[in-house]
């Protein structure tokens, strides 16, 4: 029998049609990208994020007994036990570099999803690129509210944004006021970046709506060599509540300068960032007894949900640190993304997107104090409740909301 050209062509077409199926069934590895600043001024967060992702992958790829999606059993059952591999890219905190790295991860490393990115400015460009290539992007730890309002189909964020965080902070202040605590005047102290601006805008809006008086609104240059002038203005305003939105560096300098200029605020309610970093408390913890910060994570949850403590131990073994606001969110972003890929039974961007959109993860299957994970049309999870943590005796105690609280807030601080 002679094979005609047509037969050959037909055969080739059939083989080509079968190939993706075969290849898909044998996918032994699912590649996920993570874009973080790994050098430059945000590098510490990026390096910690690597440990958080590794912890999550350990749990997914190995058989672990946690009430967490994919913990039991090996790999992703929906993809025949495929294991997750993560590829890191260094954005150096620059939007253009973040964009280029996201594109490289998609086209060269063939990642099927990207997690990121600490700096919100970098998330803007990465999410644009992901949209163009139809690859889901999940903001693990970006909190700028503008991010999910750009009509992107492939953008997701499981954790709260600054407006939700700030609303939580004001709910807390309302509750404190009701109890008779002195919390009428506020001093905002925020850096001149996206994070600081968004945070201050949200807080200013809420303060006006809820009848608080802002007696000082101090915008400072991030990483200033000196904060003396700023602190002096805070001191002169002497507000009932000091509300800093600062990263670790400026947070340390702020607290040290406050002590040096003899300013002891009545209460501090911080927008996390630096105020949930171990480095800050290592440096100036003795001056922060009773400081309160909002957070997305609370180790107190370990009492109710033992796996939180165990996962924290796993993370601590890798990083030497407890899970914090950032690392807990990074951990969860990986779990949620892996869960979606597993349900999509595919590494196709669009299918993963649809699976993500259909996510319905009860809060007790996470390590967070959230109600659940469910994304709205804009990709935002509105059921992620922030908590307020108070730094007491060298550790954080959850003081709000009441369902998560383990103690009453000490007010004013020490």
């Amino acid at each position: 029998m002679t094979m005609t050209r047509r037969d050959v062509l037909l055969g080739a077409t059939a083989a080509a049609a079968l190939l993706p199926l075969a290849a898909r069934a044998q996918t032994s590895e699912v590649v996920i990208g993570a874009t973080y600043p790994l050098s430059g001024s945000g590098a510490q967060v990026g390096v910690d994020a690597q440990r958080a992702f590794e912890t999550a992958i350990d749990i997914i790829n190995n058989d672990q007994d946690f009430e967490l999606p994919l913990a039991k059993g090996v790999g992703l059952p929906g993809l025949g036990g495929a294991k997750i591999r993560i590829v890191y890219a260094d954005t150096q905190g620059d939007p253009q570099k973040g964009r280029a790295e996201a594109e490289r991860l998609i086209t060269q490393e063939k990642v099927c999803a990207i997690l990121g990115s600490y700096q919100s400015a970098v998330a803007v460009t990465i999410s644009q690129i992901c949209e163009r290539y139809q690859i889901p992007f999940m903001s693990a730890d970006n909190s700028s509210p503008s991010l999910h309002r750009r009509g992107l189909k492939y953008y997701f964020r499981a954790s709260p944004h600054d407006e939700m965080f700030s609303a939580g902070m004001f709910d807390f202040l309302d509750a404190m006021k009701k109890k008779g605590a002195k919390a009428q005047t506020l001093a905002l102290f925020h850096e001149d970046t996206i994070f600081g601006t968004d945070s201050a805008n949200a807080q200013t809006k809420l303060a006006t709506e809820r009848g608080y008086k802002i007696v000082a609104d101090i915008k400072y240059r991030a990483n200033s060599p000196s904060l003396s002038a700023e602190v002096q203005q805070l001191k002169a305003a002497n507000a009932d509540v000091l509300m800093p939105s600062s990263y670790t560096t400026d947070g340390i300098l702020l607290v040290k300068t406050m002590a040096e200029l003899g300013y002891k605020p009545n209460a501090i309610v911080a927008q996390a960032a630096g105020f949930s970093e171990k480095a800050l408390y290592d440096a100036v913890g003795d001056k922060l007894e009773g400081a309160i910060t909002r957070g997305s994570f609370s180790l107190d949850l370990a009492a109710k949900r033992p796996m939180v403590g165990k996962i924290n131990d796993l993370f601590k073994a890798k990083s030497g640190k407890d899970l914090n606001d950032n690392t807990s969110r990074q951990f969860m972003a990986m779990i949620i993304m892996a869960d979606a890929i597993n349900r999509a039974k595919s590494t196709d961007g669009e299918k993963i997107r649809d699976a993500l959109a259909a996510t319905e993860m009860p809060g007790d299957q996470t390590i967070m104090p959230w109600k659940r994970v469910k994304f709205d049309e804009s990709g935002q999870n509105n059921d992620a409740d922030p908590v307020l943590l108070q730094y007491v005796g060298g550790k954080f105690v959850t003081v709000f909301p009441s369902q998560a609280a383990v103690a009453d807030a000490i007010w004013p601080m020490k």
Partner: protein, 326 residues
């Protein structure tokens, strides 16, 4: 103007045309978007550095604040487009003209300053610009400007996946910057600048005309850099003050010219072709470790080039070197 000089200029022009033609067909064979992205950045930095070289190399006015013009170009284009719907092509020209005007206004007092005083003045002026934009709410302040991309369009100069339009624009820009430099070398201005460099006394007698030519060089240099900034805004489709106006950017713009050969026709091109791929590749393939190794490699290369070839990499092409330092 000896025969040799005329012959060299003709040879330079032919070489440039040949290189541009070769560059133009490269992306037809190299389809990888990551590599194409590096090529776009390389051409962009070549253009920027070539423009910087006009003022700082040929004219000897070392500016470490060109990020100001880059940022002005980027911001003018982005603001005109997002606030008033003005197409980026017009924004590009507007940004260029604004930058040129500002460069001349700043040049007037600054050119009286000597060496390092001038350089520091350019740094602080660019920093003032950065701080003002960072605190200007209407211009997006720290939030920056997100340029909405709605599909491919030459009119709006935005393309979702294809890098080719950006590549060809950057190529044209680099060629224009090169050609302007080439043309200036043999102009009256170029002659004065050489005279001033070779013989400081000549500066005295040429005083006023040289001052005016410097103003012209500042304007041309700022215009081209601002067009580069406009391009960058379209290419990245998001800008914020730190990423287009930061001090680092001023240094990155000068670096290719310095390493390639400052005040030479080919230096900036050569510097960019070597430096930018190294920058990108070290970050992409070593930076993921999070241990700073990419910085060590990148920084060490800069030191090595600066030490091994203090007069620039064009020195490797020995025949050219003799002519460049002629």
């Amino acid at each position: 103007m000896d025969k040799q000089f005329v012959a060299r200029r003709r040879r330079d022009l032919i070489t440039a045309a040949g290189l541009a033609a070769v560059a133009a067909i490269v992306p037809l064979f190299v389809k990888d978007v990551y590599v194409q992205n590096i090529m776009v950045l390389t051409l962009m930095y070549a253009a920027l550095s070539q423009s910087w070289n006009i003022l700082s190399g040929y004219c000897g006015q070392i500016s470490l604040g060109h990020a100001l013009y880059f940022g002005l170009g980027a911001y003018t284009t982005a603001l005109l487009f997002t606030k008033f719907g003005v197409l980026p092509w017009f924004g590009m020209i507007a940004g260029g003209l604004i930058s040129a005007a500002i460069a001349m206004a700043l040049g007037y007092p600054c050119f009286r300053l000597g060496g390092h005083y001038f350089a520091i003045a350019t740094i602080v002026i660019a920093e003032i610009g950065l701080l003002l934009i960072q605190n200007w709410d209407w211009a997006g302040a720290a939030l920056g400007i997100d340029i909405p991309v709605r599909g491919d369009s030459w009119l709006k100069f935005q393309f979702t996946r294809s890098k080719l339009p950006y590549f060809y624009f950057a190529l044209v820009l680099a060629c224009v910057a090169w050609f302007v430099t080439w043309w200036l070398e043999d102009s009256k201005w170029g002659y004065w600048w050489r005279a001033v460099k070779d013989n400081p006394q000549a500066a005295e007698s040429l005083g006023v005309v040289v001052f005016n030519s410097k103003m012209g060089a500042a304007a041309v240099s700022a215009f081209l850099v601002a067009v580069g900034g406009s391009f960058y805004a379209q290419f990245v489709s998001y800008i914020d003050p730190g990423s287009v106006m930061g001090f680092q950017f001023s240094l990155l713009m000068a670096l290719p010219a310095v390493l390639g050969g400052i005040g030479t026709l080919w230096g900036p091109m050569l510097g960019a072709v070597i430096l930018i791929p190294i920058t990108e590749l070290t970050r992409s393939y070593i930076g993921g470790s999070g241990r700073g190794v990419d910085l060590i490699v990148y920084g060490a290369l800069i030191v090595l080039i600066a030490l091994a070839r203090p007069e620039g990499l064009v020195g490797l092409f020995s025949r050219r070197r003799k002519e460049a330092t002629r």
